[in-house]
């Protein structure tokens, strides 16, 4: 691996997993229908949790509730034992880093400028960039393997490159919780591999990493647990091989899917013939 295992992942290392984020009976609705329907879920430090389900199942909404961007209609989210609603944006941002699927900018920021923005939770009023900010940003860019893009304009990059920049920005945030919305959607095979390994590496350092996936095989291979959503509700949550069985997948996705057992306890989801 090109990236080092020091610094970014070492700081949060700890032996005992503990509850980092806890959702209690969350409800959220955009119109009348519940987008997230009474979801309770506990997420521990050191785990990689994959959130799966069909389009419109409520995955992104749940992520936005967990990160505090959306406020639930009822229920609450606890962040390291404290209610999210009682914390300031800045306090949350120092603990939760969020990687959106994409960002559109009306203005031309360079990749470095975008990544340094990740230092916002630690910056004072109208503060300028410190040497520490630049060092952390540099390290984050190296981890995401985008050092060669540093001076380029974000808007001129491909979707996949932009996704890696957003990842680097979140890494520069140095938060113990990393939440990613479809982190592999624009990535080629090499970068999917790199993204998954990077996420896994950060969980070993003691971080909680939660992400949504459409590619169930990718999720099954790397995630410690998978939470499967359907129509806003949490259908199942547990080890990939337990959650992803053919009958459940057919009822959730509405098409017959084949689930093959692989040696080593892994599984493989296939389309029907």
């Amino acid at each position: 691996m090109a990236y080092s295992l020091t610094g970014m992942i070492g700081s949060a290392a700890q032996s005992e997993p503990r509850l980092a984020l806890a959702a209690r009976d969350l409800v959220f609705a955009y119109d009348r229908q519940n987008a997230v329907d009474h979801v309770s879920l506990g997420l521990e430090t050191g785990e990689l949790l994959g959130l799966a389900g069909p389009n419109g199942a409520g995955k992104s909404t749940l992520l936005n509730l967990l990160s505090g961007f959306l406020a639930p209609l009822s229920g609450e989210v606890m962040l390291f034992g404290r209610p999210l609603a009682a914390l300031t944006r800045r306090e949350i941002a120092a603990r939760i880093a969020f990687v959106p699927q994409k960002t559109e900018s009306a203005f031309s920021f360079t990749v470095t400028e975008m990544v340094v923005m990740g230092r916002q939770p630690y910056a004072g009023l109208g503060a300028f960039d410190t040497a520490e900010d630049m060092r952390v940003a540099q390290e984050a860019m190296e981890q995401a393997e985008i050092g060669n893009l540093a001076g380029k304009f974000f808007n001129n990059l491909s979707g996949g490159e932009q996704q890696l920049v957003l990842l680097a920005r979140a890494l520069a945030q140095r938060a113990p919780i990393l939440i990613l919305d479809e982190p592999t959607s624009f990535l080629d095979l090499r970068h999917q591999w790199q993204m998954m390994n990077l996420m896994k590496m950060h969980t070993r350092g003691g971080r909680l990493v939660a992400a949504t996936f459409h590619d169930l095989n990718l999720a099954a291979r790397w995630c410690d647990r998978i939470a499967l959503m359907h129509n806003g509700a949490l259908v199942a949550c547990g080890k990939p091989a337990e959650v992803l069985n053919a009958r459940r997948l057919e009822s959730v996705y509405g098409i017959p899917l084949r689930v093959d057992a692989l040696p080593g306890g892994n599984i493989r989801v296939e389309f029907p013939e």
């Binding site: 990160s67 300031t88 300028f128 001076g151 380029k152």
Partner: protein, 354 residues
């Protein structure tokens, strides 16, 4: 061009901002010294060499100190403030075409002042204190419309911005025309000149009123510059990086609107400064608002003083250079900025259609 490739990755430090600001300030000082000395009827060099402060002995020096100097100083403040409010609206509306004049905020302020003119005509003292509040009251209408739009979804598209601004401006112009129709001739002439946006009839009192407002607004922008960078991306990004979006947007919207209203109160609606200056600065210095804030303030001032000088002395200098002009007169600065700004705006609109 370099802007298509990128820029070397560098930290934005206070030292870098101060360096660029110092260069800008040097340009501002140079233009403020040069502009009042050129042209006009008085023999300035002689007047200033001989008893420069004694206005009783030396009426030429008095003209210099009491009209020409305040004119360039006000130009600096108004231009800088208009550029700064353009920068604010562009960041929170995520649209490089947003600008107080285009958004209809200047027009609203102008209408407010027109109404105050009708009400308080004859009472100059009352009017002097009334005008800034009347402008602000007028600016509130387009501002509240903007806030409603902004509250619903802040990714207000270019088309919505343009359409909303055009309609508001047409509406306000119609109301101003209506007021003029019922006003008497002396009032109409005064209103008409004022509506073109000018810096000529000023003294130090106006400067004393707008300078603190401009400085206060600049401090707000300096404190929110990082937040403006994030707000110019999207609400999710800003929130996830620790910015209280609603508070930030409200603070900045009020700041931009008060700033615009104050400037319209002293100089009339001067358009396009907030569009031309921040955009040109972005091409050179990038999009970081921590740098664009101070530079917009400085170069906005420089730009407006230059535009005012063109309108003020342009025809006179052309005649002196041998062009056959039958007569010379001053052109209001608002006309100059509009002549420059219209094509610039079209250029931006065309090049942004990808």
């Amino acid at each position: 061009m370099m802007t298509n490739v990128g820029r070397p990755p560098r930290a934005l430090t206070l030292a870098r901002v101060l360096m660029h600001a110092t260069i800008g300030l040097a340009a501002a000082v140079a233009i403020c010294v040069a502009a009042p000395l050129i042209g006009g009827n008085i023999k300035l060099a002689a007047a200033l060499a001989n008893a420069p402060w004694d206005s009783a002995m030396n009426p030429d020096a008095m003209i210099f100190w009491s009209t020409r100097i305040p004119r360039v100083l006000l130009g600096l403040i108004v231009g800088g403030s208009l550029a700064l409010s353009g920068l604010i609206f562009q960041a929170i509306l995520r649209n490089p075409l947003a600008e107080p004049y285009i958004l209809g905020i200047s027009g609203g302020a102008a209408l407010g002042r027109m109404i105050a003119t009708i009400i308080a005509f004859g009472g100059q003292v009352v009017f002097f204190f009334l005008a800034p509040f009347a402008c602000f009251a007028g600016a509130l209408v387009p501002m509240l419309i903007l806030m409603t739009l902004a509250a619903r979804s802040r990714s207000v598209s270019t088309v919505t911005i343009l359409l909303g601004g055009v309609i508001l401006n047409v509406f306000f112009s119609a109301l101003i025309l209506l007021l003029q129709y019922f006003a008497d001739l002396a009032q109409v002439r005064q209103m008409f000149l004022w509506c073109m946006g000018a810096l000529d009839i000023v003294g130090y009192t106006q400067i004393a009123v707008v300078l603190p407002i401009a400085l206060a607004a600049f401090i707000v922008v300096a404190c929110h510059a990082r937040a403006m960078n994030l707000l110019s991306l999207d609400d999710g990004t800003a929130t996830h990086l620790g910015v209280n979006v609603r508070r930030g947007v409200n603070t900045l919207l009020w700041t931009g609107s008060i700033l615009t209203a104050a400037m319209v109160a002293v100089s009339g609606p001067i358009g396009f400064v907030g569009l031309i200056v921040p955009h040109s600065l972005r091409l050179i210095f990038g999009s970081d608002n921590r740098l664009l804030g101070p530079l917009s303030l400085i170069y906005g001032g420089v730009f407006l003083v230059v535009c005012d000088f063109i309108g003020w002395r342009g025809m006179e200098l052309m005649q002196a250079a041998g062009m056959p002009l039958a007569q010379t007169s001053e052109i209001p600065v608002g006309v100059i900025t509009a002549i420059l700004g219209g094509p610039f705006f079209l250029y931006l609109l065309i090049t942004r259609q990808k």
